[in-house]
Amino acid sequence: MSPSIDRRTLLAGAFGSVATLGLVACGAPPLQVPRQAATGTPRRGGTLRIARPAASAAETLDPASSLSAYEYLGALYNRLVRLDRAGQTVPDLASDWSSDADATTWSFRLRGGVRFHDGRALTARDVRYTISHILDPKTASPQAGPLELIKGVDAVDATTVRFRLKTPNAEFPSLLTAYQCYIIPEGSASTIGRTGIGTGPFVLDGFAPAGAGSVHANEDYFGGRATLDRIDFFSIQDTSARVNALLAHQVDLLSQTNLDNPTARVVAGSSGTTVARVANAQWYTMPMLATSKEFSDPRMRQAMKLAYDPRAILSTAIQGTGTAGWDNPVPPQLKDWLDLEREHDPDKARSILRTLGRENFRTRIYTSAYEPNLTPIATAYAAQAQQAGIRLQITNVAADSYYTQIWMQRPLMVSYWFTGRPVDQLLNQIFRSKSSYNESAWSNPRFDRLLDAARADTNDTTRRQKYQDAQRLIIEDGADMTPVFGDRLVGLSTNVVNYSEYGFEFDYLSLGLKEA
């Protein structure tokens, strides 16, 4: 794989220099990436073409699967509830919900008159079936873990569904906002991967794994008809080929593609194409393996944090397109976010290292071309850490085995996630002891107790306080650094209006094309 990495780097460089040459030649000011996508009144109808990297030839339309074709899901299906931009749980198929006093039984009332694409009416039985499909070990759904607390689901009547939980959870509805929780019709587990029959704003016309597919507007959608008539999806694996397709106007939008800076400049500077930002969409992390001899000491982890200024990483590695993280994994747009700028003090870090007898501490920091910003972040962090006498050797490894060979195995590396998880799931899934996604293997009993207490707390104010205390604990003691949240730089045609993406879903209803 290393030749392909070289090629990418070289291509990016080539693009960059083409852009620079163009700039010098025209004497134009440096390009600015627009803050957000164009908005306005779209024309009614039209076909939007989206280029996407296919997960693999094994991809499926089954939302519960870890191999699901992400872009299709939001167009075809609905969840019971979804997250809004501030991380609040808001209605989708459920119109309202309530719990008993200690939050162990939750009842959801479904919207009336909702029909699946095949004409069947949505009932509570479909919801019950969907949940049992997610929890089925044969499905191996990534959301099975977080939903393990469900003891049983009852279809009380056609429009009421009741969840009985093993332990109280005041944030339970937020766990149903995951993109694996799209509701599928009862009995469809074996066919849903191909048929894509949901209740969503678009109806499937065709789908080929790792190939092309398309959807057309659902005239009976309960939320009103979508602006577009049709969306075509095309699979293009190679990032530069995807960008070329956009530049050649063969497609209108690149999904799941965070453009690197030189490429973003080319796209923003070419005629007919532009770049939109999805604010804080990329959550970059630097897990220090808490089980390694390097980082098992909390003081060592504290030194690693004190040594660097996240604002420097923000301005150098991602050129200001994002927000400084200050080692808090909760993205700033969420309502439960704790606003805390921890200390930055390289001298203090140095003196901690001295006490530990680890002056001139050196180790490797692993990175890869898996995502364009990982290596810039590793480089920027290494430069910062040097101020405290920490010497990091940047080790670039093959992208295709980065998450199987390095992640959760090497003491220090750079990784990333998409933001969009509700706070409760984020903290429980990635920071709780022994969770299968706990990438730093951090384990803190006080933290776990805090999460349990928060879940059992039905008072909104004190519960929020507990989630914030949990964040403080991660900042102080945690093993997973969060240097920055990066804006995703999305390449799209200037014809596209009202593009927005949050909570693992495109806003497919208002997405449209400009008046021709």
Partner: protein, 331 residues
């Protein structure tokens, strides 16, 4: 000659077996298996175990190789671990798409450089020669992905004559593929032309300097006739291996070029299969590429044999001379 063909075919069976064997174990040695590669960040131990069981990866490595070999011998290449489709049909579709680029590229990419090489050799030292040689040298030094990118920038983005990528993958229609095949074919022609031009040029120069050519020229044979009747037929012989290697390289799937154009050929199929560790598909691709190498080289040797009577007699003469030595050793 029949014996030669028979020996060559027999060795090629061994070659194919070795290719399959090495590819199988090389992929085994790569970090991560299909289950881990597919799941990526979702590769929790439970999920990996479930998928491994579904794919039958829990069997022993040797056992899996043996069973693959047994099936392959009967022409059954199995199904892809990733897509679940039949490997044979997947590969033939991809191969036919690659042929759509390869055949025109071979026709143009062999005849044009041969002619240019002859021209350069015949006009040695003059403006035509230096132009051709310099351009060939430059083309040789630029990697094909740069040529591909430049062509896309010029002919798909600046002046949109051709598509930059194939959108519909293996479901693309013939007309869609045909227009998308032009730029990749040009890239391949550029990539392979330089070597052939240079080989043909020096071979022509050598041919023109031989005694029989000089004699013919002194006897008054017109230069054009001398070149085409007497020099070129011999001069082309040392170029045949260069051509055959280039053709085999090209047919084996030009990985980089196909992935830049998202072209659904054998090369792109190979990249995708390597990254997902899809062994059955990789094995079949390895066999097919090895087969193409063997056949193209055999064809080149047979052409040389047919075109050059000296090689046939030389072979016979050498064999006759060698026999006594062998008897001496054994006796």
């Amino acid at each position: 000659m029949i014996r030669l063909v028979a020996t060559r075919l027999a060795t090629s069976v061994v070659t194919l077996f070795l290719a399959a064997f090495f590819v199988f174990f090389a992929v085994q040695a790569l970090p991560g298996d299909v289950a881990q590669q597919l799941l990526g960040q979702n590769a929790t131990p439970e999920a990996v175990a479930t998928l491994r069981k579904q794919l039958g990866l829990d069997a022993n490595v040797w056992q899996r190789f043996a069973s693959w070999l047994g099936h392959a011998a009967t022409g059954d290449f199995g199904t892809s671990l990733v897509s679940g489709q039949s490997v044979s049909s997947t590969i033939w579709t991809a191969f036919s798409h690659t042929l759509l680029i390869a055949v025109p590229a071979i026709i143009v990419g062999v005849t044009l450089p041969v002619l240019l090489g002859i021209l350069a050799g015949a006009r040695r030292g003059r403006a035509t020669d230096s132009t051709i040689s310099v351009v060939a040298l430059v083309a040789m030094s630029i990697p094909e992905f740069v040529v591909a990118t430049v062509l896309v920038l010029v002919f798909a983005i600046a002046i949109p004559v051709f598509p930059a990528v194939v959108l519909r993958g293996s479901a693309a229609s013939f007309s869609e593929l045909a227009s998308a095949a032009v730029l990749p074919a040009v890239v391949l022609v550029v990539a392979m032309a330089a070597y052939i031009i240079r080989a043909m040029r020096s071979s022509t120069i050598d041919g023109l300097a031989t005694e029989y050519a000089t004699t013919a020229e002194l006897k008054g044979v017109p230069r054009r006739r001398l070149l085409w009747r007497h020099v070129v037929p011999t001069a082309i012989l040392p170029v045949l291996p260069v051509i055959s290697i280039n053709v085999a390289w090209l047919l084996g799937g030009v990985v980089v070029v196909e992935s830049v154009f998202n072209y659904p050929g054998l090369g792109k199929l190979m990249i995708d299969s390597v990254s997902t560790r899809d062994l059955p598909v990789l094995q079949a691709i390895a066999l097919l590429s090895a087969l193409i190498y063997v056949l193209v080289n055999l064809a080149a040797d047979l052409t040389a044999l047919a075109a050059d009577p000296r090689q046939r007699t030389l072979n016979r003469a050498r064999r006759r001379r060698r026999r006594p030595t062998l008897e001496e050793v054994s006796g």
